[in-house]
Symmetry: D3
Subunit: 166 residues, 6 copies
């Protein structure tokens, strides 16, 4: 069971003890996509001109979602985020939208979950706003791109397993 | 702008008026997967035998996530869920876990977002518990399978666009 | 497994389907106590005269706690409370404070958990405010006194198993 | 009024100033029980074999409850928990379940309230899942067993006032 | 004490019993302003052209704030909002921004608090985004403009006591 | 766009990076008023004698509101409050109530938003409790009085722009 750190020797779930870990800078970058019909994407792109700003709403939802991570993920430690930045890009080649989030904290634990949760909430918010015209949209390729800081150090997704980048 | 109902005539985001819509039974089924290394999947499967119950924790997180939907998705109406059921299955062919959620309410609006949010929180929780052994896991193919009730009636994802089913 | 309705045929936790249950008036009364040293109780009683109103703070916490029930208890249905009333009484014979909460809703499910959660949050709040002078306080005899409404009808705790009443 | 630190000189509730207190390791252990009929306990014990895992659900609820403490208890400082561990044991002698929670933080205030809130939410969750078969269950003997860290140092409940230990 | 319905005969706060009140359409319109320097207002107006959309962020915050009302206001009943619309207008004559919110529900209680809370959260969000350039901004003239539905019927603010309207 | 720090070079909202800022003591004092009819104020003042303690409830709501700030204000950093104190005073000259809040933290960002949010939630709570007798109450003159700590140092509202002080 040693490989699943969120469970103790008896196999019971717990919030892992990080009391003795030093507070250091932690960075995580996560990304995901929502695939949709070309028509739906066109409607979103038109909204970027100022009327019906789907991406603006999704960005705010993603940032707020990052702050709710410890509420949502049972064994996550609460942590004071020191940065959340959200990039949203429309890609005709998907067609759809790519959401990439960078999260940072200065603390004893990583911020991967915060970056991933922000991506998911951002993409769900796009789904919500476009679902009346396109119920078949799919959220896909959500994963960690990179993390820095902490004992495990720098980690980067290998290029050939990476989700599409804009 | 008529196609984006979450924005008014001036293109401003709003929570759509559903005051006049009758309360009827609404059902939504959503699904998604998390892909991982065969080793990680094996560890999860072993945990199902009683020690380190990753799927049990994810199920609870998904149900609680469904209840937080209106908190997370800015333009979602709050609604009293009358059922949430979560199926989690380990699939060697992915390899990974499929999460399928059925949500119901009796109300004036649909429960697609509740079902989708539950799927996402469930999959994120699996990511959280396994990330120490496998940072490259990917959440993918998250979408609506079916919805019933309301003015738009029955909708079902076409077979050839469907995410993998166990 | 039929006796545990919160688990399905496979033994998996779910939020039970109440879609077909009619909305009727539901009432629940719950109660609990916090036992403390006579000195601590005296300090609380003196505060009732206007300075240091421990019970006033606990009452507000209990009411707000009732509203958080579905957030806290994983398989609880969210429901719109239509009444919450909190009685707090100082009892020299404990010595300590008795907290009794009546909760009501008009809906398809009962409000026992809302009444019980309110009692617990109210008593925890008293503990918080008095803990600097008395760490050994004990919260005890928290249970349901009565429930009305719903298919199971009227239920009342038998006198000889009841927690102390003021 | 000096004995109630949560009230100022005028007797008004406030969140106490801890700005000047150093961040040190704080540990708290709290415990409580839920008493039930022998039949109910037997059903829970059977569920531990893999079907209907009442204790697994309660454990997750307790951990998440610890993270909601400052939301629930009005004058509690928000704090970043660095560990939460939950032990649940079935005791035929009660009959019932004992819940013991250890909480830790590195901060200027204690974690007693987090440990106690986790115990209460865990026990309430057991009540919720078993209430259809046993409405008369009682939550009892909830108290602090031990605390370490901070100016007040080590505190341990005296043996003869202690709630039952498994 | 009859004039303060949120307190019972003993003067204790409670959540008023609305179990017997019928569910009818309730509408409330609330409004408020934030006054600022002409420079700050100019910066906001420039952002409306697409870069730095202060009002877009404030609108989302206001809508989400409406949904948190029962969490924030202790004696408020939780209710399922059926509409929230937010108008934000820049007024050179203040100089500043006017925020007007219309909220609706179909239920036994009014939505005044939801409309007012949305106004306040929207204006606070504007303050937050502009505070680095203008700490002296003032939120002012926040009040109810109109309410409809319920036993007390239609109420409208008298013209001469009204806050400035755009 | 440099003047609006909550937006990046592309004009997109983000949570500003404070990872490199040192944790120092931050203090903020905010204030606001609610104006009402003389009758309503008289009812509140009578309640201070022990029956119907409007101000006691508002004080608790204000403190809890301070803790919800990062949930409500999208681009606010979450921070561990180390002090919240709320003063409420009845003023015949308004007539109405003045609410003043002092908030503190030891961290990399200021606590202005926490102090302001607490003021607003406190005043909204007074509105809620008195609205049945006086719908025309107005919340007004809500602003920052003073802040200390951080790179921008000490800031104090100029006397002639200040809201009324008791």
């Amino acid at each position: 069971m040693s490989s699943l750190t969120h469970f103790d020797d008896q196999g019971q779930a717990h919030m892992v003890d990080v009391s003795a870990k030093p507070a250091t800078l932690r960075v995580a970058v996560a990304q995901g996509c929502i695939r949709m019909s070309p028509d739906t994407l066109r409607t979103i792109v038109q909204g970027m001109a100022g009327k019906g700003d789907v991406l603006g709403v999704a960005r705010i939802a993603a940032i707020q979602g990052a702050k709710r991570t410890a509420d949502l993920i049972p064994l996550c430690h609460p942590l004071p985020l020191s940065k959340v930045a959200v990039e949203l890009e429309c890609l005709d080649t998907l067609p759809g939208v790519v959401c990439r989030v960078t999260a940072q904290t200065v603390g004893p634990t990583g911020v991967e979950m915060e970056a991933l949760t922000a991506v998911q909430v951002g993409l769900l918010t796009i789904y919500d706003m476009c679902k009346a015209m396109d119920r078949g949209m799919t959220i896909t390729d959500v994963g960690l791109l990179e993390k820095r800081g902490g004992r495990s150090g720098h980690w980067q997704r290998e290029a050939d397993t990476a989700p599409p980048r804009p």
